[in-house]
């Protein structure tokens, strides 16, 4: 089987890259091993939230100019970054992920514990703030499902009150939700979303919410609705008298799963081949090229392509890895950046910048990878597997994933 491009990794960067290529008529396959970091997504897309000193960034397009040469954004360049950012926003909207926000000016998302963090785009249903303390209403109702522990309401309300917002906690439930509670491990965001993905159940929770609120209220709900599509959210808006908005929960993230699903469907609608639960396990290299790859379930079937993209994510996704001697990339043993001295990888204080966060696959300015010091001409890296950036400290995860995915697609098409 021969493809134009095979992408290894079905997360945000792999999908963005795949969609871009497929939309230009390429025959593309994405091989995904399992879940991606979208499963702990906040409901927003960060581009660049903090500078090296930890100060909040107002305009990411200006701030990228201050980044070191190793940062993926520096390889893209500020002007091109702006173009790609607009392209990404359009891509999300076309895929059915309605977002608010603009590239040249960060707004703020509300974290599950009520902390405001700078971000680029936020899903329309989710709450967003213009400035950290500027809230849509001075009085809000925080409405949680009874027994749902992954919405830390005590912390959320405390931090809202620190912003001068009067927040009132109310809880509600329905017989279906109570039934789900019988099994304690069912009370996770994604499971609840499945229970609620039904018009009768939505009507029931709307009734409950109407009992605890009035038309002029703003009700903040945990983001546990709309795992497959947004019809549940739209129905709820229809039936609830008060204004409603959603706040991020602890993982697993329902908005993240929706983003993943929508992008995958969009990719497939353009003829893209999405191979699920099928981990790429090895590749055949010759000279300066990768010729084919093999997956766990298709060990004897070489999957050939003109170009390949490695979009396997950071350490927690498993391809980038360490043992007690070294940092390495598991699949192809590509060249990585990372100290040879284990004691240099981490800091004892978890809230300090952890050096390992910047470790990743080493690439040229066109994002082609290196193996044994030699460039592999048709193998590119995109997303969090790239070296040179700290997603946690800079708040740049979704941006790096989307924009390097799109840039790699452009580089492949340019050839």
């Amino acid at each position: 089987m021969k493809y134009d491009t095979i992408i290894i990794g079905g997360g945000l960067s792999g999908l963005a890259c795949g969609i871009s290529l497929a939309s230009k008529g390429q025959k593309v396959m994405i091989a995904a091993a399992g879940q991606s970091s979208l499963h702990f997504n906040s409901g927003s897309f960060d581009l660049l939230g903090y500078d090296e000193q930890g100060n909040v960034i107002d305009n990411p397009l200006e701030a990228v100019k201050q980044l070191g040469p190793e940062h993926p954004y520096s390889k893209i360049g500020a002007a091109q970054l702006n173009i790609l950012a607009n392209q990404a926003q359009e891509l999300l909207n076309t895929a059915g992920i309605r977002v608010k926000g603009q590239t040249g000016r960060n707004h703020f998302r509300l974290s599950p514990i009520g902390v405001a963090k700078p971000t680029w785009l936020t899903i329309e249903n989710m709450i967003s703030l213009e400035t950290p303390d500027q809230f849509p209403q001075q009085e809000v109702i925080v409405a949680n499902i009874r027994g749902f522990l992954d919405f830390p309401v005590e912390f959320l309300i405390d931090n809202l009150e620190k912003k001068g917002i009067k927040a009132l906690l109310k809880t509600f439930t329905t017989p279906e939700l109570e039934y789900a509670r019988e099994n304690p491990s069912e009370m996770r965001a994604t499971n609840i979303a499945k229970v609620l993905d039904d018009e009768t159940n939505i009507k029931k929770i709307a009734d409950e919410i109407n009992h605890i609120s009035q038309a002029q209220d703003l009700v903040i709900l945990p983001a546990v609705l709309g795992i497959a599509n947004l019809s549940a959210v739209n129905l709820l808006r229809k039936y609830v008298h008060a204004q409603i908005t959603f706040a991020a929960t602890m993982p697993p993230s329902v908005p993240g799963v929706l983003i993943q699903t929508r992008l995958r469907q969009y990719f497939q609608s353009m003829g893209g081949m999405f191979l699920e639960q099928n981990k790429v396990v090895r590749g055949d290299f010759s000279d300066d090229k990768l010729n084919s790859v093999y997956t766990e379930n298709l060990q004897d079937e070489p999957l050939q392509a003109s170009d390949f993209v490695l979009a396997t994510g950071s350490f927690f996704s498993g391809d980038l890895n360490t043992n007690y001697k070294k940092v390495f990339e598991t699949l192809f043993d590509l060249d990585v950046d990372g100290s040879e001295d284990r004691t240099q990888w981490a800091e004892e204080n978890i809230f300090k910048a952890q050096p390992y966060m910047k470790y990743g696959v080493r690439t040229g300015s066109d994002f082609t990878v290196r193996k044994n010091g030699k460039k592999v001409n048709n193998l590119y890296a995109a997303g969090l597997v790239l070296n040179g950036h700290n997603t946690v400290k800079s708040a740049d995860g979704e941006g790096v994933s989307l924009l390097t995915g799109l840039q790699v697609a452009e580089n492949i098409l340019k050839k």
Partner: protein, 562 residues
């Protein structure tokens, strides 16, 4: 079970510092016990059971020293049979007692002493003879049979001896002692440090305390003071003007991500570094290293990369599966080794119990030090210290701790899992007969806080209402919350919120507590941060800092200090 007296059925209550200090300080106590480790709480219990009026003071929280930082091994004594027969005898006798009086804290796993090709098989004979002499039932078994009963053992073994080692939970054991001491009228002050002694005419008549939470100081009077502060005991002695010749020995250990072995595995050779692998609940622990450290450093010990290397290399020798098992975390404790008075260099240090009567030894009346020993022998240490205290106070009541069941152990745990209520089964394993205090009738009480360790909201309520739990670290010790494979990635936030609601804490305090708890979890992961542990660490950072912004709630000053 004849001869065993059941503890009186009374309320459980672990309340300490929230009582008005005046209640404590107005009175004259018979005995003040210094130190909230297992020796201190055991001694306080014994004294209280003999009718003494007792106050225990601890500068931080219970089990903060060596009690909370060891293998969790219920030694059979075999390890010391050849080199330290006195300790071996103490161990086996206490082993048999603890299996009865603290059975809800003990997992009766048995142990193996294995001989590997590079070890001398002749040592096995000597070892077994020494065990028999100490009264330990050590039985040579066929290496093939050893592989059958413990599949994780190194298959290259050439010899195996089966011994009555077991696994014990130090936190539960301490809690049971505290509950029982309170039932007998003992009072406890945690976060109160002894900053001086009230000395009058060659006699200690009390202590001066500082409350670490408020900064207040006060004086408490007593007829006797018992120094049970472990490695910190030499500093306490020094404060009283006497010398205890102590050689603190640092011991580092690693926790692996699952229970690789079902029996304790030891090397059948002269005791050396990293040659004991103990199954503890759902995990297993390899240890320890042993290095003498200066007394000044014992509050700030860290696991070094060299120690980690030693522990991994030696651990793989005993159970090769460890090579491919994730290391959850590393930790280090400090043994209070004491040189006998006729051995100032500390060359022939024993693990035996050291009881010092400072009146006869140093001419300082009213002061006793109980030290040396091991967690294993805490009850006997308590007995000896209390015997001496009673003698001095003219009390003739005899010790009953060897036969009185600890709270939680009043009934046999049938160890049969109930497939319809696994959580209850797990909780019974943790709390024994005390499990009946855990609310579980209501649906909200059955909601799961920590899935790895099956900790329910009801168990959090029990820990708050009955065990004086007001922070995540205490909750962890009482319930194992956050100690499982995910190392509190998700459950910490859940638990912090539930705790905040149940214990009615100030939310800000709860947020700080969560940040401190996450920081503390990472500190233990940091020395072994590679492979799966690095992944989990990154995940933890992504969630708590990236997603939640918890770092923004950490006061800047505190962050700098760390």
């Amino acid at each position: 079970m004849e001869g065993i007296i059941t503890a009186p059925k009374l309320i459980i209550d672990l309340k300490t510092t929230d009582l008005d200090m005046k209640n404590f300080t107005d009175n004259l106590y018979d005995v003040i016990v210094i130190g909230g480790g297992i020796t201190g709480v055991g001694t306080a219990r014994d004294c209280a059971m003999r009718g003494l009026k007792v106050l225990l003071v601890e500068k931080r929280d219970f089990t903060n020293g060596a009690t909370g930082r060891n293998h969790g091994l219920l030694h059979s004594g075999s390890r010391y049979a050849v080199t330290d027969p006195e300790s071996a005898k103490e161990c086996i006798q206490e082993n048999m007692i603890l299996r009865k009086i603290a059975r809800h804290c003990v997992d009766p796993t048995d142990g193996l002493f294995i001989t590997l090709p590079e070890d001398d098989l002749n040592y096995q004979k000597k070892f077994v003879e020494a065990c028999h002499q100490a009264g330990i039932n050590a039985e040579i078994i066929d290496p093939e049979y050893a592989k059958q009963i413990e599949p994780a053992v190194n298959p290259d073994l050439i010899g195996a001896v089966r011994v009555p080692d077991a696994s014990i939970d130090p936190f539960r054991l301490s809690t049971a002692n505290i509950i029982d001491a309170k039932r007998h009228g003992c009072r406890f002050l945690t976060y109160h440090e002894v900053i001086g002694f009230l000395i009058d005419n060659g006699r200690i008549k009390g202590v001066r305390l500082r409350n670490h939470k408020t900064g207040e100081t006060c004086e408490v009077h007593s007829k006797l003071t018992i120094n049970a502060a472990g490695s910190w005991g030499c500093l306490i002695a020094k404060m009283a003007g006497v010398t205890v010749n102590m050689f603190p020995a640092k011991g580092s250990l690693l926790i692996f991500g699952h229970r690789v072995n079902n029996m304790v595995i030891n090397r059948c050779r002269k005791p050396a570094n990293a040659d004991i692998l103990v199954p503890d609940d759902a995990v297993c622990v390899i240890g320890t290293t042993s290095d003498r450290v200066p007394v000044e450093t014992i509050d700030h010990l860290k696991v070094t990369p060299e120690e980690v290397n030693t522990l991994i290399t030696e651990g793989e020798q005993m159970a090769p599966a460890l090579a491919s098992t994730r290391i959850l975390r590393a930790y280090t404790g400090v043994r209070p080794l004491v040189a006998k008075d006729n051995d100032p260099s500390g060359r022939s240090i024993s693990r035996g119990i050291v009881l010092l009567d400072h009146e006869t030894r140093d001419g300082l009346a009213g002061f006793i030090t109980i030290t040396g020993g091991k967690m294993m022998t805490y009850r006997r240490m308590a007995e000896q210290a209390t015997d001496l205290a009673c003698k001095k106070l003219g009390i003739s009541r005899r010790c009953e701790t060897a036969t009185t069941l600890l709270p939680g152990s009043e009934a046999e745990n049938d160890h049969k899992p109930d497939p319809y209520n696994y959580t209850f089964f797990v909780q019974k394993g943790r709390h024994g007969t005390l499990t009946e205090n855990i609310p579980h009738e209501k649906i909200e009480d059955r909601a799961m806080v920590c899935e790895c360790e099956e900790v329910s909201v009801g168990e959090v309520k029990y820990a708050v209402d009955k065990l004086n739990t007001d922070n995540l670290a205490k909750l962890r010790r009482h319930t194992r919350m956050g100690m499982g494979t995910c190392q509190s990635e998700l459950c910490a936030c859940r638990a912090a919120n539930v705790l905040c609601q149940v214990a009615k804490l100030k939310v800000e305090k709860s947020e700080q507590d969560l940040a401190n708890f996450i920081a503390e979890r990472w500190k233990g992961m940091y020395p072994v941060a590679w492979g799966e542990t690095l992944k989990e660490g990154q995940f933890m950072s992504q969630i708590y800092e990236g997603l939640c912004g918890l770092n923004q709630l950490v006061p800047k000053k505190k962050e700098d200090q760390k």
